[in-house]
Every structure is written in structure tokens, then in C-alpha cells.
């Protein structure tokens, strides 16, 4: 405090003092209902603001645990509040002593100089505590400071006393309450014991019910739902859950639960790591994971918030879970999951609770295992049923009484009987009557044999009977198994109708081809690499006279020695060398009879599927008949040729005879004529005077007739030569020929009036001299037979078509009677008398002969006294004619 104090300072100081006193006196009101700690702090603060010391230390006794409560403050320097505490504690022993014994100052713990102290005990002899204020001010503590400190201490003491009183009062009440409570507790304990008993009973009943449900085969998930509901109800927990360990082993799936936020059950997952309770539950016991056999130790959490083993999954935290317990639901080969119960209030689970949870977990495990087993069973059953059902073969199982106990789909179809009608019925219904006894015997022997499996093929073709009465062939295998206390026979039956049919078809086809081969007229044989016959058809039997039985297996050359003698063995060898050869005109000898003949053989190699020659095949034809026929034909040909030669010779002879005839005619016929003529001429010369007129006329007639006969002979010879003469064929200008002939005929036409009308004529192919003779004859005729006409008209022309050229000579002469037209072209045929028109009737015969030799035709048209037209045609082609 300052030495010199002004009155205004005094007033100001007093005013402040009053204000501080008011502030301090208000403290108890502030302290009502506050904690002791708060009171200490509040008191320290109040002293700091009123006394403005450098440090304040408050110590209050009376905390429930008996330890003093301290509060320290340092003015503007909170860092030295600790030192205030030190100071306060150091000064504590003085509280019970006289105030005067207090040291006025202590060394400044936070710096230089000293700190002056003011202490005030709270309560009697400081029983409620003390307050200390220290300041570096040299005037500390002033009267005012002491007053304020004392007031504050008193206020605190009063408050603390009051509190203590209140506390005592409360404690009394508490004691009363406690007594009451103890009484109640005693009662409650009895009730609780009873309740616990009931709870246990309930739990046991619940577990039993759950177990029953599980055993009854309740759906696993329904069972889980029921289990968690049961747990929640029975343990009075808000949350219960079944977590299923997912196959990856990394997550647990919230399979069933109660109390969880909507939408989580059936969706949420929890990490299976050790940071989750569930994960810890599983993983904390590694050996058991592998075993998966027991539920293991339960994991119990009193307070998740202070749990140290794991942090707890968000699921639990989000739901404000505090306490909980979880057990493993064991599973086959690995745990199924975790069963848990949780509360938001702290809870200590009892042993009963744990047992209950474990019991539920066991039931679930059992249910899970049962389901798994059932599923496995179903799967294997389905697999088996699938195998049996889908088997192509009928599978029929019969018991010891021969009753059907298994009848698969194939059996239904095969035997045309639904399983429902077959099961439990004797198997005999599917065996034809005549086979039943044998079948029963067979089955009996099989049972006695002790064999587990046996083909029934040894029985030969088996026949089964369809429900509709149809019998069909089967193939069966029978086996026996011990099951359900008896021996079951399982028959696997195959319908071989189709196979039998196919086999039959193959057999028939084979038979057919064999018959075909046999019916072949040709011989067909096959031989192996050693030339042993491996096939020999009936054709071969016919040809060789050797039966199939004799031939097969025999070496060809041993069986038929002639093969080597004739060299026909080389065909066998060539076929075996892979060549196809044809053996023609091979002689053969039938071994037994010695009959001889000829055959023709086509030898070819027989190849196996690898293309190797394994033998040979020959198709043999007996050509004896053909050969004979050929020989006959040859003989006939020889004969024919000889006959042709003979005939030719005859013809040549005839021709020669004809020639010599002509020659004779020419010589021998002409000679007498000449002699008649000669001697008649001589007679005429010598005796003309001795003869009268008639005699002379006779001589003349003889001479004339002789001359005519000579002409006839000459013409006849020329006609004969015409037929024999060589004929050439060249291009012939018909215009030229006609012109020449007209020139030649000019003398005959000289004193005549002849009107010629001659068309331009086409060229033809032919013999010019002969064609010239044709024109000569026709034109001469035309001139001759128009002799009676004052004006003769002779027309020469031609027309052509695609085949021939047609020429004609038309005149206006005497014509002829068409009745005799056929005679016109005959040799020595004349329609007019010699006196009328001279001629010997060979001209037109020559025309016809020449035109025929050219391949053409001749004809004529005429009217008596009305003229005649003579036609001839020549073919356009150079062909034809002789």
C-alpha cells in the first residue's frame, strides 16, 4: 500500500472494497449445486479478481474420496499456477497454527524477489481447507486484502459447511434408502433367483423349442430368424444377429437379425478381420476354424467403448452398442458364422446367458449342417436320379422277393409302363411266360454265386415283355448290392431291337450279296496271299466242277493243276502284286471229269483298309460256248469266203462266158451271114442272067436280109459292150453335146422343115460319149418320127429340182399309144413297122441302159399321132450308177 494516500484514493479504495465484498458475498449463491472442484476454481478466480495478487491457492477438503481439491491461479501468468499449487501445499501445515507463525514472505518461486503471502483457513482450524494469496507488492496484504481474503474464506467455509450438512442429510437419506434397498434387494434377490430360474427355464424351453423346430426340418433361414428373435426376447437385448461367414472368408454377412436398422438384415456385411467382434470371435481361435467343430469360447464385451481386443465394426458403433457377446456357429469344415447379442446399455452377461447363446448357436449349427447334408444328399440323389433317369439303358432294381424297387425313365419307356405301376410289382410281368422260370433260376444262381456283376449274355438272346404285350430282344447286365439289409439285384437292360434289326439287315444284306454272288453266272473267287481260295461261288462250282467245300482253303495250283501247266498261275501272282489283269481264252480242265473248256478271268488285288494287298479276287467266265461259237463263226466265215470266192469265180466265169459268147456271136454268127451274103453275091454276079426277075429279087432279098442280120448282130454287140464298158464321170456340157449331135444329124434333117426349140441346158456329171449316144438316139428318133410332118417341131429342154436334172426331147411326130409305153425302152421292141420307120429297136434300150448306169431315170409320154416326149433325169450328185 502507498505511504501517501489521498482521500479520493481512500474513497476509491473503499468503493472497490465494497464492490469486492459484494462480489465475494455472492459466491455461495453461485456455488449452489456445483461440484467442489468448481467451487475451488470459482473461489480462486474471485480472489484473483478482488485481491489482485500474483498467485492464489485454494484447497478444499470434503471431496467424497477424502483427497483435497486444489485450485491455483497466477495473475496474468497461468504458467506459474503450478508454482502456486506448490506454494499452497507448502503452506498447508501452517493452517492449523497461529497465523503469526506464518512467514510474511517467501522467495519468489518464479523469479527474483520475494512474494508476500496472506493465508486464511476455511472452517475451523482449516478443516474445510484454506486460501493463500501471494503478491510481490510490498504492502501486501493490506487490511482490505485480509478482510477480503477472510470474507472469501468465510463464504467458502459457510458454503462448504452447508454442503457438508446437505451431504450428511443426503447420506442419511441414502442410508435409509440403502436399508430400504437392501430390504428390497433381499426380496429382489429371492425374486431374481426365482426369475433367473424362470429365465433359465425359459431359455431352456426356448432352446428346446428351437431345437425341435430345427429337428422338424424348419427352413434354416426361418430358423435363424426365430433364433435371433428368441435371443432378443430371452436375453432382453436390443440386438441379436446371425452373421454368416462368406465363402471368401473375408466378410461376414448379416443373415438374420433383430433390432438393426431397416434394410440391413440380408444385406449388410461385416469384415471378418480381427478388428470386428465377430471376426475376432472366429479368428481368435485359429485351431477351431480349421476344426470348425465347436462353438469355442464366447467373446464377451462389457463395454465396447473401452474394449481393447478389437475396435468393433461400424455396425455396432452405429447402433450405439456397448455390451455384447458372440459365439461361433460351427460348421462343416469351417465355421458357418457368428451368433451375437448386443445391448446399448452396459451389461454383464451371465453364465446362463452365454450358455443360452451357445446352445442356440449349436442348434443353428446343427440346422446348418443338416441343411447342408440334406442338400448334399439331394444333390447326390438328384445326380443319381439323373444318372438313372437319363440312362439310355433301363435300370431296374429288384429286391429279394423279385419285386421292383427302382424303375428308371428309360425302363418306363422301354417297357411302356409308368414307374408308379411297376414299383413294388414282381419283375416277372416284364418277362415272357416261357422265360420266367429260367430267369428266376438265373437270378437265384447269381445271388448264390456271390458275384457282384455278371453279363446275362451267356443266356443267349434275352427276350423281355413290354407292358403292352410286345416281346423284344434285350441285352442285360446284372449286379447285386447290399442295401437296406437285403441284397438288391440291379439289372441294366438294353433294348437291342434296333441293333438286332440292324444285325438282321446286315445279315440279310450279306446273304443277299452272297446270293447275288452265288447267282452270278460268272464265277467269283477270292484267294489269300498264299493263293488259297477264300471264296468260291456257285458259278465257280459250275465252271470248274469243284464244290465250294472242296475249294475253300486249298491252294489254287494244288486244286487245279492245269493253272500251272497253262501258265495261268501268273494271273494270281500279278493280282497279288497289286495289278489288275485280264486273262483271255484260258484253257481249263475239270479235275474229275477231264472236261475241257475255256475261261476268261479278271484278276484284281484285294486290299485291306490300309491299302495292303491281302489277296486277290477273280471274276471268271466260262467262254467255252462262246469260243465254240466263235470257232463256228470263223469256220462259217471261211466257208463263206470260199463260197464268195467260188461265186466270184462263177461270176467271172459267167462273165468270161458272156464275153466269149459275144466273141462267138461276133465271129461265128457273122461268119455264116457273111458267107450267105458272099455266096449270094457271087451267085448274083455269075448267074444274074440265068435268073428271072423273081429269082433275082430273091437274091436281093437274101443279100438285104443278110445285111440286116449283120447290122442286128453289130448293134447287139454294141449294146452288150455298152453294159460292160468302163464309164468315166466328168463335167459334161449338154449344150455342146446337143449341138454336136444336131451337126451329125444334119444330113438326115437336110431336106426337112424342122423347127428347133432348144433351151440352155445345165452341165452334168457323166460319161461324155455315152451321154452323146443318148442325145443321138433321142434326137434321131425325134427327126425320124416327125418325118410325116410338113413342119417338124423338136423341143429340147430341162428342169431341175434339188435332187436331179431332168432333160426332155419333145416332138410333134407320130407319137405312140401310151398302152405300150412299157415296151418303148425294151431291146428290139418296136411300135412301128419296119416299112413305116426303119430301125431295129435298140436305140431307146441303149438310152435307158446309159441313163441307168448314170443313176438316172427314163420315161416317155405320147399320144398316137400327137407327138411324143422322152424324158431322162440325171442325179445332181455324182453318186449312183454303175
Amino acid at each position: 500500500m502507498a505511504a501517501t494516500e489521498t482521500p479520493s484514493d481512500e474513497i476509491s479504495r473503499l468503493r472497490r472494497c465494497v464492490r469486492d465484498l459484494v462480489a465475494l458475498s455472492a459466491l455461495p449463491a453461485v456455488w449452489v449445486g456445483r461440484e467442489l472442484r468448481d467451487i475451488a476454481g470459482s473461489l480462486a478466480d474471485a480472489l484473483l479478481s478482488t485481491l489482485r495478487p500474483d498467485i492464489v491457492y485454494v484447497r478444499l477438503n470434503g471431496s467424497p474420496d477424502g483427497s483435497p481439491l486444489e485450485a491455483a491461479r497466477a495473475y496474468r501468468r497461468p504458467e506459474i499456477a503450478e508454482q502456486a499449487v506448490e506454494i499452497g501445499r507448502a503452506l498447508a501445515p501452517w493452517l492449523t497454527r497461529d497465523e503469526s507463525s506464518l512467514p510474511p514472505a517467501i522467495p519468489n518461486p518464479a523469479g527474483s524477489g520475494t512474494v508476500r503471502l496472506a493465508i486464511s483457513a476455511i472452517g475451523h482450524e482449516g478443516e474445510c481447507g484454506m486460501v493463500v494469496a501471494g503478491s510481490r507488492q510490498t504492502d501486501f496484504p493490506t487490511e482490505m486484502d485480509r478482510l477480503l481474503l477472510g470474507v472469501a474464506a468465510n463464504q467458502a467455509a459457510a458454503s462448504l459447511q452447508e454442503r457438508r450438512l446437505l451431504t450428511a442429510l443426503r447420506e442419511a437419506d441414502q442410508l435409509k434408502d440403502d436399508l430400504l434397498a437392501r430390504e428390497q434387494a433381499a426380496r429382489a434377490e429371492t425374486e431374481a433367483a426365482e426369475e433367473a430360474l424362470r429365465a433359465r427355464e425359459r431359455q431352456q424351453a426356448a432352446v428346446a423349442e428351437l431345437g425341435r423346430r430345427a429337428l422338424a426340418g424348419a427352413d434354416l433361414f426361418t430358423l435363424m430368424d426365430e433364433a435371433v428373435a428368441l435371443i432378443a426376447r430371452t436375453l432382453a437385448v436390443e440386438y441379436a444377429k446371425v452373421l454368416e461367414l462368406l465363402p471368401d472368408g473375408k466378410e461376414l454377412f448379416l443373415r438374420a437379425g433383430v433390432g438393426w436398422k431397416e434394410g440391413l438384415v440380408g444385406h449388410a456385411t461385416v469384415g471378418a478381420g480381427t478388428d470386428s467382434q465377430a471376426g475376432y470371435t472366429i479368428l481368435a481361435r485359429p485351431p477351431m476354424i480349421a476344426a470348425g467343430l465347436r462353438s469355442g469360447e464366447p467373446v464377451i464385451v462389457e463395454d465396447l467403448r473401452i474394449e481393447t481386443r478389437f475396435s468393433g465394426p461400424p455396425l455396432l458403433h452405429e447402433h450405439g452398442v456397448v455390451s455384447g457377446m458372440s459365439v461361433v456357429i460351427p460348421g462343416y469344415e469351417r465355421p458357418y458364422g457368428v451368433l451375437g447379442a448386443h445391448t446399448t446399455r452396459r451389461r454383464t452377461f451371465t453364465e446362463d446367458d452365454v450358455h443360452f447363446l451357445q446352445a442356440v448357436a449349436s442348434i443353428l449349427a446343427m440346422a446348418v449342417e443338416r441343411k447342408r447334408a440334406e442338400e448334399a444328399l439331394r444333390a447326390s440323389e438328384a445326380r443319381l436320379a439323373g444318372i438313372i433317369g437319363s440312362a439310355m439303358d433301363a435300370i431296374i432294381t429288384i429286391d429279394e422277393e423279385q419285386r421292383i424297387v427302382v424303375f428308371n425313365t428309360a425302363a418306363e419307356q422301354m417297357l411302356r409302363c409308368p414307374a408308379a405301376k411297376a414299383l413294388g410289382q414282381p419283375v416277372d410281368q416284364f418277362i415272357p411266360g416261357e422265360y420266367r422260370k429260367r430267369h428266376a433260376e438265373h437270378v437265384r444262381r447269381f445271388r448264390e454265386s456271390g458275384l457282384t456283376r455278371r453279363s446275362m449274355e451267356s443266356l443267349g438272346t434275352l427276350i423281355a415283355l413290354r407292358a403292352d404285350g410286345e416281346e423284344f430282344p434285350i441285352e442285360a447286365t446284372i449286379s447285386q448290392v447290399e442295401a437296406v439289409g437285403q441284397t438288391l439285384c440291379i439289372a441294366i437292360i438294353r433294348d437291342v431291337t434296333e441293333r438286332t434289326r440292324v444285325e438282321e439287315e446286315i445279315r440279310r444284306a450279306k446273304e443277299f450279296s452272297e446270293r447275288l454272288i452265288d447267282s452270278s453266272v460268272d464265277g467269283i473267287l477270292a484267294f489269300d496271299r498264299e493263293c488259297r481260295y477264300t471264296a468260291w461261288n456257285s458259278g465257280m462250282e459250275r465252271i470248274s466242277g469243284v464244290s465250294k467245300k472242296e475249294a475253300l482253303g486249298k491252294c489254287a495250283f494244288d486244286l487245279l493243276p492245269f493253272l500251272k501247266q497253262t501258265g495261268a498261275d501268273r494271273f494270281f501272282l500279278e493280282a497279288l502284286a497289286g495289278k489288275s489283269v485280264v486273262a483271255r481264252d484260258q484253257p481249263y480242265v475239270v479235275p474229275e471229269t477231264g472236261r475241257q473248256g475255256f475261261f476268261e478271268g479278271h484278276y484284281s488285288p484285294l486290299l485291306n483298309e490300309k491299302g495292303e494287298t491281302v489277296g486277290g479276287l477273280a471274276i471268271v467266265r466260262d467262254i467255252t460256248q462262246r469260243k465254240r461259237a466263235e470257232e463256228e463263226i470263223q469256220q462259217l466265215n471261211v466257208t463263206l469266203e470260199r463260197r464268195v470266192q467260188e461265186r466270184t469265180a462263177q461270176l467271172e466265169e459267167a462273165n468270161r462266158e458272156l464275153e466269149s459268147f459275144s466273141y462267138s456271136v461276133s465271129h461265128d454268127l457273122r461268119a455264116p451271114l457273111r458267107h450267105i451274103s458272099g455266096f449270094a453275091g457271087l451267085l448274083q454276079k455269075r448267074a444274074v442272067s440265068a435268073l428271072d426277075e423273081t429269082g433275082q429279087r430273091y437274091l436281093s432279098t437274101i443279100l438285104e436280109a443278110t445285111r440286116q442280120a449283120g447290122d442286128l448282130v453289130d448293134e447287139l454287140l454294141s449294146f452288150s459292150r455298152m453294159g460292160r464298158a468302163e464309164m468315166s464321170r466328168t463335167a459334161v456340157d449338154m449344150n455342146e453335146l446337143v449341138a454336136e449331135v444336131r451337126q451329125e444329124m444334119a444330113p438326115e434333117a437336110a431336106r426337112r422343115v424342122i423347127v428347133w426349140r432348144i433351151d440352155a441346158l445345165p452341165n452334168v456329171q457323166g460319161d461324155p460319149p455315152l451321154l452323146r449316144l443318148v442325145w443321138r438316139n433321142l434326137i434321131a428318133n425325134a427327126i425320124k418320127y416327125t418325118r410325116t410332118r410338113s413342119e417338124a417341131e423338136i423341143e429340147i429342154g430341162s428342169t431341175s429340182n434339188e435332187r436331179e436334172t431332168l432333160f426332155f426331147v419333145r416332138d410333134n411326130g407320130v407319137g405312140f399309144d401310151m398302152r405300150y409305153v412299157d415296151k418303148l425302152f425294151g431291146v428290139f421292141q418296136r411300135l412301128h413297122g419296119e416299112q413305116e420307120f426303119e430301125g431295129i429297136g435298140i436305140g431307146l434300150a441303149n438310152v435307158r441302159r446309159i441313163i441307168h448306169r448314170h443313176g438316172g431315170r427314163t420315161w416317155a409320154e405320147g399320144i398316137v399321132d400327137g407327138g411324143a416326149t422322152f424324158y431322162f433325169s440325171l442325179p445332181l450328185s455324182a453318186e449312183g450308177g454303175t
Binding site: 461276133s666 465271129h667 451271114l673 457273111r674 458267107h675 451274103s677 457271087l682 449283120g710
Partner: protein, 151 residues
């Protein structure tokens, strides 16, 4: 019979011989004609053998040869004559009834000197023979060794 004449007539038919000689007579050649009746005789005459071995030497001026002859026919005689260098020069005239081309061709091929077909008509015949006789026995100069025309 053994003298050499200028015309050798080879003709078997007596009528023809007579007529021919009659015709030759008109050319005054009748006495110059030796008549033989067949081919063999003709050859005998020409080669002076057989019945003619005593005849005088020399060849006729012409041989009138018929084709149709007994024994050796006219063509054979012609062939032999014309094949013999010694007598092939003797002119041979075929006098025949044959108009056969074959005979004609063969005769010329064998080297005949002329070929005459005897006409049937007597007058024509006489004319033909007269002309032949005149030409070959008189007009034609025969090869050496032949009987020359005596006038």
C-alpha cells in the same frame, strides 16, 4: 506247096478262104496266095518246118491272119511272129469277123500292121480284100527277104 508265095492267108473256114481268094482273084493275086488252115500250119510255113520245111526260102510280102483259128489262134501266131526278130518285119494284117475292142487293142499291142473287120456284105467284103491285097502285096514295099512283086 513248097514254093514261096507273096500272100500267106491263114484262114480255117473254107467259105472264107473261097470268098477271100475270089476277092483276091479280082486283083490278080489269087496265084500268089498260100492258104494255111490253122496257126500251127501258119508258123510251120513261116519257119519252114513240118510240111513246109522244103519250101523255098524267103518270107511272104504279107500275112492275112484270121484270129479265130484251130490249134494256135491268130493272136498267138501274131505274138510269135512279132517276137521273133527274124520275121517280125513281115507285115501282118488281121482279117477277122471280130469287132471286139479287146482283140483290136491286143493286136496292135503285139505289133500288127493292119486290122480289118470282114464286112458281112459281100460287095463290101470283096472291095476290102481287093484293097488289102493290092496295098500289101503290090503297093507296099515289103521288107528285105520277101517275095517281090513280079509285075
Amino acid at each position: 506247096m513248097l514254093e514261096l508265095k507273096r500272100v500267106l492267108l491263114v484262114e480255117d473256114n473254107p467259105h472264107d478262104v473261097e470268098l477271100t481268094l475270089t476277092a483276091l482273084a479280082e486283083s490278080h493275086l489269087a496265084n500268089e496266095v498260100v492258104v494255111v488252115r490253122d496257126g500251127e500250119e501258119a508258123l510251120d510255113y513261116l519257119y519252114r518246118r513240118g510240111a513246109y520245111r522244103m519250101r523255098a526260102e524267103g518270107n511272104p510280102a504279107v500275112v492275112l491272119l484270121d484270129l479265130k483259128l484251130p490249134k494256135v489262134d491268130g493272136l498267138e501266131v501274131l505274138a510269135q511272129l512279132k517276137a521273133d526278130p527274124q520275121i517280125k518285119a513281115v507285115p501282118v494284117v488281121i482279117l477277122t469277123s471280130s469287132r471286139e475292142e479287146r482283140d483290136l487293142v491286143q493286136s496292135y499291142n503285139l505289133g500288127v500292121n493292119a486290122y480289118v473287120v470282114k464286112p458281112v456284105d459281100f460287095h463290101e467284103f470283096v472291095e476290102s480284100v481287093k484293097e488289102i491285097g493290092l496295098f500289101w502285096a503290090v503297093i507296099n514295099q515289103p521288107p528285105p527277104g520277101s517275095i517281090a512283086h513280079t509285075g
